[in-house]
């Protein structure tokens, strides 16, 4: 049976949720990404490796998703935090964690909406401050938005982690083998969704050779992903340079080339 979660762990994870959603609106270094969420949650809960595996699987479902569907976007950040936490507490491994996390992510749709609505009220305070020429107040009411954003993620984490354990315990008791085994399979299969979304979003039809090269390198030659990336980088740099030359050539021959082009000759002196 599963052990409990310590209060300091709930507090840290809640703080992390508050911080990371705000950070994603700032420098956006990646702390909101599911793979970071899995790693950080794993570290706090004492199993970094499991956190990475859960977060990595969630990240694969999210990659490109925001760009693709106009429909509701699942919150795999929450999925990774909640899945990793209860996966570690239950001691049932990665598959169970993913089985808990994916539905949570799918059901927690667009918490953004709440924050974005609440912020409208702040906007009107800013308008008043502008009218009164009160820069200090403008700054304060603008920055206040960070509270709503933070709460939109911190509250769900706080609530689910504080009260979710009985639900998970019941799940553990009644979970039949077909479901447990099915979730295990799902952990391996679900990444295809993220890959397919990316293939749909990227102009794949124009880049079929590259797709094949990437696949063959990894599948037949067992080149690690970093190696494939380096090959891809070589191809990209080559392509960029080649087209750069084409562009320059076009600029020189085109009659409409602007005289301000550095290094270009000016024929009609």
């Amino acid at each position: 049976m599963s052990q409990g979660i310590a209060i300091w762990q709930i507090a840290l994870l809640t703080l992390y949720a508050f911080f990371s959603i705000n950070e994603s609106l700032m420098l956006n270094l990646g702390f909101i990404r599911p793979v970071f969420a899995g790693a950080i949650t794993g570290a706090i809960m004492g199993d970094l490796k499991l956190g990475l595996m859960v977060g990595g699987t969630m990240e694969l479902m999210q990659l490109g998703i925001s760009a693709f569907g106009g429909a509701s976007i699942p919150d795999f950040f929450l999925g990774a935090v909640v899945g990793t936490t209860f996966g570690i507490l239950a001691g049932k491994g990665v598959q169970f964690a993913i089985g808990v996390g994916v539905p949570v992510g799918l059901l927690m749709l667009q918490l953004d909406i709440l924050a974005r609505f609440a912020n409208t009220a702040l906007l009107h305070r800013v308008d008043k401050a502008v009218e009164a020429v009160a820069p200090r107040k403008i700054e304060m009411w603008t920055l206040m938005g960070s509270v709503f954003w933070g709460l939109s993620r911190a509250l769900p984490v706080l609530i689910i982690l504080s009260f979710g354990q009985p639900v998970v315990n019941t799940l553990l008791q009644i979970m039949p083998d077909w479901l447990m085994g099915g979730l295990k399979v799902a952990g391996g299969v679900l990444p295809v969704v993220g890959i397919s979304i990316l293939l749909r979003y990227l102009p794949t039809k124009d880049f079929v050779p590259e797709l094949l090269v990437g696949f063959v390198l990894a599948a037949y030659l067992n080149v690690p992903i970093l190696g494939v990336t380096l090959v891809g980088l070589a191809a990209a740099v080559y392509d960029f340079k080649k087209h750069g030359k084409d562009r320059e050539a076009a600029a020189v021959t085109a009659p409409a080339a602007t005289a301000s082009d550095e290094g270009g000759f000016q024929g009609d002196e």
Partner: protein, 273 residues
């Protein structure tokens, strides 16, 4: 057209630009709302400059703040450029800029958002995200750290650099940079697609457990499949998901539910395990 009361001390310094840089980096979307999106974020960012230029005249100050607090929305990654241009115009034109600035902002925000989203949002995220995932599903934090470092060493410096480039070079920068970034996006897409191709065998894990036994003969179905093509099942599953995504009334959520259900069914039928 020169403002008569413009004095030397009102000149915009590097320090001012850095202040604006940090403000945009930290607060551009912090008050994002459905009514005017990034309007307050933009006003907050440029406030130190407005204060310096118009702080002595309450009416002008208010007028300019109103002009800068209008509907605005662009990619956070590219917003520094617009601020740089805006500041350059204001420094030159003074309060007269209030007729130029709104057009400048609304004219640039769309194209820059497009470039920023495809370059930094999709391609950049795909490449580093894929790497991070490929390492993470095997339990290694290396990919995550690489992504973080790349953001710190390339993405963030680009953002902070671009305000100075825009301030110094003016609107000319936007055309040259847009061309360059578009070309770069195209080349980087090659890299992105190649990495996605490599992800199929690296991160998808689906094997057929079926073993046929007849007397001394034993046939492992997975071995036969591997002889046709390694990772055949993952390829078929990707093809299925790809096809599903193209169907009407389909979205990524539904495809995830379908894959979840399919996994459970295929496990129960002992086809996958």
């Amino acid at each position: 057209m020169n403002e008569p009361n413009k004095t030397a001390q009102q000149k915009i310094t590097k320090k001012d630009l850095w202040a604006v840089n940090w403000r945009w980096a930290l607060a551009s979307q912090i008050q994002w709302n459905y009514e005017r999106m990034e309007s307050s974020g933009y006003l907050y960012s440029i406030l130190p400059v407005l204060k310096k230029l118009y702080g002595h005249d309450k009416d002008k100050f208010r007028e300019m703040m109103k002009a800068e607090n209008q509907y605005y929305n662009t990619a956070a990654s590219m917003g520094h450029i617009v601020l740089g241009l805006d500041i350059a115009v204001q420094e030159q034109e003074g309060i007269g800029a209030k007729d130029i600035v709104p057009g400048l902002k609304t004219g640039l925000m769309g194209p820059l958002a497009g470039v920023g989203d495809s370059m930094w949002g999709v391609i950049w995220g795909t490449i580093w995200g894929s790497l991070a995932c490929a390492f993470a599903v095997k339990g290694s934090p290396v990919g995550v750290l690489m992504w973080l470092m790349a953001n710190l060493c390339i993405y963030v410096p680009f953002r902070f650099w671009s305000i100075f480039a825009a301030y110094n070079q003016g609107v000319k920068l936007v055309t040259t940079m847009k061309d360059k970034l578009n070309a770069m996006t195209k080349s980087a897409t090659m890299l992105g697609v190649m990495v996605v191709g490599a992800m199929i065998p690296t991160v998808v894990n689906a094997k057929v457990p079926f073993v046929y036994k007849n007397g001394g003969m034993k046939i492992v179905l997975q071995d036969m499949l591997d002889q046709i093509m390694p990772h055949l099942i993952p390829v078929c599953l990707v093809a299925l998901a790809y096809w599903l995504l193209g169907r009407k009334h389909m979205n990524s959520n539904r495809v995830i539910w379908i894959m979840l259900g399919l996994s459970i069914v295929l496990y129960s039928l002992k086809i996958l395990g």
